[in-house]
Amino acid sequence: MTGPPERPSTERTRLATAGARAATAGSLSRQPGGDVVKGNIFFALLLLAIAVVLFGLAAIIVQAAINGAPALSFDLFTNPSSSLPERAGFRTALIGTLYLILGVVLLVVPIGVGAAIYLEEYADRTRWWNRLIELNIQNLAGVPSIIFGILGLAFIVRGPLDLGFIVAAGSLTLALLVLPTVILAAREAIRAVPPSIREGSLALGATQWQTIRRQVLPASIPGIATGVILAVSRAIGETAPLLLVGATTFVTFNPTFLGDDGYSALPVLIFNYATRPQDEFQTLASAGVIVMLVVLLAINAFAVWLRNRYERQW
């Protein structure tokens, strides 16, 4: 039969060695030795890494808070922007940013997840065009944001799409910019769903889309949420491409998503203020950073909640 000719002698030799070792093993308590030391060093390194990150973050926030302290007040959220620092607020820029991000999320989630699903679940990896798409997405992630600005100006604001200098055009530009982040994160999440789950679903007569929709996607929500969090975080802080596609620094009225009256965005304003000569504006810029973090946290809170809710372990 398929089994090997069992030679008891083989086993005996083996057991002899085993016995020798087993006799010495006795204590259950921690053996002082290389492994323990290594493990401790490793753990210390892990904590150090986390500490570095948290400390860095804290330092940035504290620095912004201290610098911005004189200007910090709730009025920052309600006052429109002004060229007079004492009455300047971020309301109009804030609304512009909220619209921008809303547009980014609405665009990037379906497109990003859709592309990820296509690549992981439908695309035949051996086909050159699918490999090309894969390469192309990774490559897009490395294109500097200003190039997206140039692209947005040429193809979205003008050119084929001809949207004009409206918030939606800015959203679309930013969405293209952060699309690779969402696609890559979503792909990894989808890839991590064990094949046996797909088999189980397909074997019940579910179509491929039903399998994706009801098994794969729910299981990959945490990873997708991470991608969206990172994407939104990046989109919210981008300045350069927005300048090109029409975000202005000075808007005293509340912008609308499709209106072409002009709009502003927080980072554009912050950048502009930060490079002005007057100290008051630099203070305002720091305060703006705090405003932006508050907004960012509020926006991400939902994604974080979603991610925690769907977290699971196979």
């Binding site: 003008r158 300048l243 620094t249 005293t252 002009g262 490079t275 007057q278």
Partner: protein, 299 residues
């Protein structure tokens, strides 16, 4: 301003874009204008003089802020799109050369500045500058704005005789002139230059050099700029309205308002106000433009 202001029910949107140097002035004027005309929306962008003209010549903005004059190529592009424009000077600036407060030198000639910034000489120390009084020995640490800026072009043109003809081995601070302050403050032999407003805000941290443009040492100030004695580093800042847009009443009103109020607010925004002569010139330019816009003839 409350509703039903004195503007007589003007409404519409006025788009301004261009140099980030000029933007604070346009913003301030725009803010005041909107107080009187609450239904007019004015936006000010900062995509740079070049970027501003590009949009302007594509007919996408009404007014372009500029820290330099429009170039022939840009003018052509405007003409291709049927856009006529004319330069209105709205404020003055004094490019200010700053050094460390500890530096004993207080005045330099244009030639000495040229030595410092000359692309060939590449001086390494203050002591190598010919004819400098009092003598000073420290390593030259140079700071300058981004080479894409109008400030760079103007300074190099005035000091080195040709735009861009400057040594490149200096600390380029890019977009944020505040860094020149930090840098010069930190280096004994530091030297840098930027717009007057940066100096005004940082007096004490850095020292402004007097410039000898041939007729003795002159310190940069509002007065020396206005009386024309601060040469050659005084420059004008401009706006370029489009004749096309000037057919719209709100734009006409805005530009007239601009020139009417600009001298009151220039100092507040960190600029040096126009002289009476400059202002009159600007006003007559605007009239010409209004005329051509009204006739609807272009190019």
């Amino acid at each position: 301003g409350s509703g039903g202001g004195s503007g007589g029910g003007l409404s519409g949107t006025i788009r301004i874009d261009g140099s980030s140097t000029v933007a604070p002035l346009s913003e301030l004027v725009a803010e005041l204008f909107q107080e009187e005309n609450p239904d007019v929306k004015v936006t000010v962008g900062t995509s740079g003089t070049g970027g501003g003209f590009e949009k302007f010549c594509a007919g996408e903005t009404d007014i372009s802020d500029a820290s330099r004059s429009i170039e022939p190529g840009e003018e052509e592009a405007c003409a291709d799109n049927g856009i006529t424009t004319s330069r209105l000077t709205v404020a003055n600036d004094a490019l200010t050369v700053v050094v460390n407060p500890e530096n004993p030198v207080s005045c330099m000639t244009v030639d000495q500045l040229n030595q410092v910034w000359d692309p060939q000489l590449k001086l390494g120390s203050w002591s190598e500058i010919k004819g400098l009084e009092p003598s000073f020995d420290a390593e030259l640490t140079l700071f300058g704005p981004g080479t894409d800026s109008g400030t760079f072009d103007y300074f190099t043109g005035a000091v080195n005789g040709e735009e861009g003809a400057q040594r490149s081995d200096y600390n380029n601070v890019g977009e944020d002139d505040n860094q020149t302050v930090t840098g010069v403050q930190g280096a004994d032999g530091g030297m840098g230059y930027f717009g007057f407003s940066y100096f005004e805000e940082n007096e004490g941290k850095v020292k402004a050099l007097e410039i000898d443009g041939g007729e003795g040492c002159v310190a940069p100030s509002a007065e020396t700029v206005r009386d024309g004695s601060y040469v050659p580093l005084r420059r004008g800042l401009f706006i370029y309205p489009s004749a096309e847009a000037l057919r719209r009443p709100e734009v006409q009103e805005f530009l007239q308002f601009y020139l009417y109020r600009v001298n009151d607010v220039a100092a507040q925004a960190g600029f040096i106000a126009l002289t009476g002569k400059q202002l009159r010139e600007a006003q007559s330019e605007l009239k010409t433009l209004l005329g051509s816009g009204g006739e609807g003839t272009a190019g």
